[in-house]
């Protein structure tokens, strides 16, 4: 199977650089760390190439990153923006083929990489070079910077080709594992995804090329390096069994309405809310699906939009239920004192409602969803801090307060968080 691999290294940094002030843009020596301020708890989401060369990497605590590069600019991570930017590009790529694998979560290491299955697409889009040119032209308008591109017969081969190509299209010849292994053989063994200890041991054994490693007996490699060594050996031999896992586009059902003139009371909103929930739920019902999260957004004349999210204990597509729930939450919330100019309802987390999985060994699970629905109603009536669940934190902690905690019962099973964007 032919695979086209696209990689935007440091994509979060690229997006920040593209939208930031000019000094940040186009200066490769700029030290930037994305994730938050050094005194905040959190981890590095991304960094500039210059900071990467100084030892900063994804997942590093921000305080540690500050010790490594104290002169760097620390920026807060805007994860929704990064995600949205990549999602737009992925939607464009999905127009070429549905065989598209990508990780849209900026917190994941694979963020900024995309893998397309291009077997048999030449009839639609031309040969591989033509197809690649079209793909690059499309994504150039959507994501900043030029991606690394590689085409090969396996996932690993395509990734290696992208690194070797250094921004230009690099292709591994069409063929079987032997062809792939022949392409990989003269390349540095550092390209193999071995963890540090295994990499050091490979160097101690004097292995510098992938071909040298692939020429070893597989059983001997497994005896020395374990199962992970066997997987590395397979990669070196052009045998990458990892299949492409097509992404599932996130279903977001959204309905919006501009209010002219702006509304100053909540009651007229109820009528609109009901119609919008009705329209969205009809779409869900047509697919035999239900939503697990509902979001209501109200734009007001002065101030920031008011956003209210409601988690649902089980997939639901009942318009009356959603309308009552959202309106009750709205009634219990202190709204901004300004007329509402726009209303939007969004249903997320689409799931099939035909089959529900229940636990085999916990009979309580059969009633958990019903209990969560009841807790939602009770929380609306009495307040979220009245119904609590308990959990253990550290039973050995010196302070009693640190051993366990009580938290709102809906925090993990149904009740939603309210936020103002």
């Amino acid at each position: 199977m032919r695979l086209l691999y696209l990689d935007w290294p440091h994509l979060c940094y690229r997006i920040e650089a593209a939208r930031a002030m000019l000094p940040l843009r186009g200066q490769p020596s700029e030290l930037v760390v994305i994730g938050g301020q050094p005194w905040e708890e959190g981890e590095v989401v991304d960094c500039s190439p210059a900071a990467r060369r100084l030892g900063v990497e994804r997942g590093l605590p921000l305080g540690t990153a500050h010790r490594l590069v104290p002169e760097a600019r620390f920026l807060a991570a805007d994860l929704p923006t990064y995600r949205r930017a990549l999602e737009v590009a992925l939607d464009a790529l999905a127009a070429f083929t549905p065989s598209l694998e990508a990780e849209p979560d900026p917190g994941e290491r694979a963020f900024g990489q995309a893998l397309l299955g291009i077997e048999g697409l030449h009839r639609l889009w031309g040969d591989e070079e033509t197809l690649t040119g079209r793909v690059v032209d499309i994504v150039a308008k959507l994501l900043p910077g030029k991606p690394r591109i590689g085409i090969a017969n396996t996932r690993f081969g395509a990734q290696v080709a992208a690194v070797i190509g250094q921004g230009n299209l690099e292709r591994v010849p069409v063929g079987d594992a032997a062809v792939e292994a022949a392409y990989l053989a003269p390349l540095s063994i550092k390209l193999l995804p071995a963890h540090d200890e295994a990499g050091d041991r490979l160097r101690v054994f004097g292995l510098t090329r992938i071909g040298q490693f692939g020429a070893l007996s597989r059983s001997a490699v497994i005896a020395r390096f374990g199962a992970s060594g066997g997987e590395l050996h397979d990669l070196a031999c052009g045998l990458d069994g990892r299949q492409l896992q097509p992404r599932k586009p996130i279903a977001q059902l959204r309905a919006e309405a501009e209010l002219e003139p702006p509304l100053e009371t909540l009651e007229p909103l109820r009528f609109l809310l009901r119609n919008m929930c009705q329209a969205l739920c009809e779409q869900l019902n047509a697919r035999g699906a239900g939503a697990t999260r509902a979001m209501l957004q109200l734009d007001v004349e002065r101030g920031e939009p008011f956003i209210l999210e409601q988690a649902l204990p089980e997939p639901a597509a009942a318009p009356e239920l959603l309308e009552r729930l959202l309106f009750a939450r709205l009634g219990n919330t202190r709204m901004p004192a300004a007329p509402v100019t726009r209303i939007a309802v969004e249903l997320r987390g689409e799931q099939v409602v035909a089959g529900q999985q229940l636990g085999l060994f916990a009979p309580q699970l059969a009633r958990a969803a019903r209990l969560d629905w009841q807790l939602i109603g009770l929380a609306l009536r009495f307040g979220q801090d009245r119904l609590l669940r308990a959990r253990l934190l550290d039973p050995e902690a010196a302070l009693v307060e640190q051993r366990s905690e009580l938290f709102p019962a809906g925090a993990d099973s149904g009740l939603a968080t309210q936020s103002v964007a």
Binding site: V353, G355, F361, Q364, L392
Partner: protein
């Protein structure tokens, strides 16, 4: 059965005070006219208890001696009970055991924490699975009654434990307690009230009338292992029992959780069994459509 009005009133008062099993009317010449707690000569427990219609679902208290004493083997469905005793007499521990037993039978339980002293560590160590426990912390007792009544009306919980504070004033709470007990009975939800000894008289009276089972706990002595005190002997007196004979007594051992047992219980909760169950959850399919 024809009875004089005065006798009927007296019987009603006795039943209200001691439970319906306390007063029984004989049907044959060989049986006494009145037996139960008021009989001059105590009847054998077997035949008397056989007359009681036993509910099908019973939650044991976790103490075998006490279960044997209750006649039904524990708390039947829809029954309210009160555990009365001084401080440190083991009434909360007994209630926690009942919660754990209810969970072990697939129930979801709730704890109305009016005293605000609920300790999750202690609960886990007594065998409670925190996933299936709701803790209600109302702003005041009135809100607590409303919250508990709403929760009970939903019929999604199996056992509600109410921890009454000592300084609960009498204003209106007796009526609320009666209503809540009636709610629980109609909804088939078990209810246990942890009752301090110095409770206001109207509330105590309301409890005495509305619950079907009333246990009075009194510490008797220390339970020792060598020179260490590891627990307490507690005398349990069945002051009222609608499903068996009242007035019986037994002694149970309330063991304190020493460090080793504590840690073992927490480890058991935190590691193998708990996680295994959590991981194995999505196995059964229920087709709802």
């Amino acid at each position: 059965m024809p009875t004089e009005p005065a006798l009927g009133t007296a019987l009603a008062r006795l039943e209200s005070r001691w439970g319906s099993a306390a007063v029984r009317v004989g049907v044959g010449a060989d049986q006494p006219l009145v037996d139960g707690a008021l009989a001059l000569a105590p009847q054998p427990a077997g035949p008397a208890e056989a007359l009681v219609a036993l509910p099908d679902e019973v939650i044991p208290t976790g103490f075998a001696r006490l279960d044997a004493l209750l006649g039904t083997g524990g708390l039947p469905r829809g029954v309210s009970a009160s555990f009365r005793g001084a401080r440190s007499s083991g009434k909360t521990t007994l209630a926690l055991h009942c919660l754990a037993q209810a969970q072990a039978r697939g129930g979801i339980v709730a704890f109305l924490d009016l005293c605000r002293i609920f300790d999750p560590i202690e609960a886990v160590a007594r065998g409670i699975d925190l996933r299936w426990l709701l803790v209600l912390r109302p702003a005041d007792a009135e809100e607590g009654w409303a919250l508990a009544a709403a929760l009970v009306a939903g019929r999604q919980i199996d056992l509600l434990v109410i921890d009454l504070p000592e300084r609960l004033n009498a204003r209106g709470h007796d009526a609320s307690l009666r209503r809540l007990a009636a709610h629980a009975r109609r909804s088939s939800v078990r209810m246990i009230v942890i009752e301090p000894t110095n409770l206001a008289a109207p509330i105590h009276g309301a409890l005495a009338e509305s619950v079907a089972l009333r246990l009075e706990l009194e510490p008797r002595g220390w339970l020792r292992a060598g020179r260490d005190i590891v627990g307490r002997y507690v005398q349990v007196n069945v002051a009222k029992n609608r499903f068996g004979l009242p007035g019986r007594e037994t002694e149970i051992e309330i063991r304190y959780l020493v460090d080793g047992e504590h840690a073992a219980a927490l480890n058991r909760f935190a590691t193998a069994d708990y996680q295994e169950t959590a991981e194995l959850q999505p196995l059964r399919l229920l087709h709802t459509a």
